[in-house]
Symmetry: C2
Subunit: 191 residues, 2 copies
């Protein structure tokens, strides 16, 4: 059983997300692993966690990880704390998950927020955003672990569907996570 | 000047959205207009409004309008009120706009919610959802009015971009609204 599937647990969401560990992930035959990852590989007796973002994660490379995804200048401690607290006040509707390596470095993250609609009998939709796995930790299915956790969170919140936007190049990855292409994304930038 | 462009107004957002009218919209040469629309067409001396959704709009065909978009069973007054109040508590982050015809019927709607991120210097992104124009009111640029109003709202909230998902068939419409295709949308349904 995939340890991030939590449908039958009787724990509350916090307990579930903070406690479920997953076995050491299978390494891809692709090389290029950092020292951090090699240490993690050898720590097979300990589990790593998909967990909620914590305030201290800024000091564990969370912003640097996001910089691998897109434009993300360095964020001051004050700005990070303000945004963290802002999201915490609406935690039920907006979750940021991370995977922390044994080294203490954040190596994967993703977020989901819950949209409340009038359609579908006043239904809810989960929106997954900002998925990124550290370049040195790819091929270890960490992205899939994050996606599964975010998807399960949206499901547990009563969403009738979850959506995300991705590049054509990443389509196959999300198909392996159980997603199907439906529409196209349109964008307007102000800056 | 397009009256839904409000960037330089000194009014607060509520005042702006409740007060800006737009001139009577140009009719498409395409026929099929309902009596309601014909009345509206002749009422050129009065402006119609893009405004926020109100609780009383359920009695003005708001749900029936959404039923033209997707699955939307009839919603009880209680469920509608609960969802309306829920969204009202987070109005800054989630707006539903409507256009009401002179007849008192809601003929166009759309929503936008504001996502707060860590990337882009703790930036914000607007997500536009659930755009629909009454079948009898199409060809009058009401969809564009709604999109412009939602886009301007996101801009006024400090978003660095606005995104939406649409079918390939509707791509040209959104391009006319200033949007460009970027990625693809992936979906997972739970029901």
């Amino acid at each position: 059983m995939d340890p991030v599937v939590m449908g039958t647990s009787t724990m509350n969401l916090d307990e579930r997300f903070l406690s479920f560990g997953f076995p050491f992930v299978r390494l891809s035959p692709v090389g290029g692993l950092s020292d951090d990852m090699k240490k993690w590989q050898t720590a097979k007796n300990k589990n790593s966690l998909v967990r909620k973002l914590e305030l201290s994660d800024k000091g564990k490379g969370f912003i640097e990880l996001l910089q691998q995804l897109t434009i993300c200048d360095s964020v001051s401690d004050k700005d990070f704390e303000d945004r963290f607290k802002e999201l915490s006040t609406r935690a039920e509707n907006h979750q940021v998950f991370v995977i922390e390596a044994r080294s203490g470095k954040i190596v994967a993250t993703g977020s989901v927020f819950i949209e409340r609609k009038f359609i579908r009998n006043c239904g809810k939709v989960g929106h997954i955003e900002d998925i990124v796995v550290d370049a040195n930790a790819r091929g270890m299915q960490l992205g899939k672990k994050i996606i599964n956790a975010l998807t399960d969170y949206a499901h547990s919140m009563g969403c009738y569907r979850v959506i995300l936007d991705c590049s054509v190049e990443n389509k196959a990855f999300y198909e392996k996570c159980g997603y199907k292409q439906k529409e196209i994304q349109m964008v307007k930038y102000f800056i």
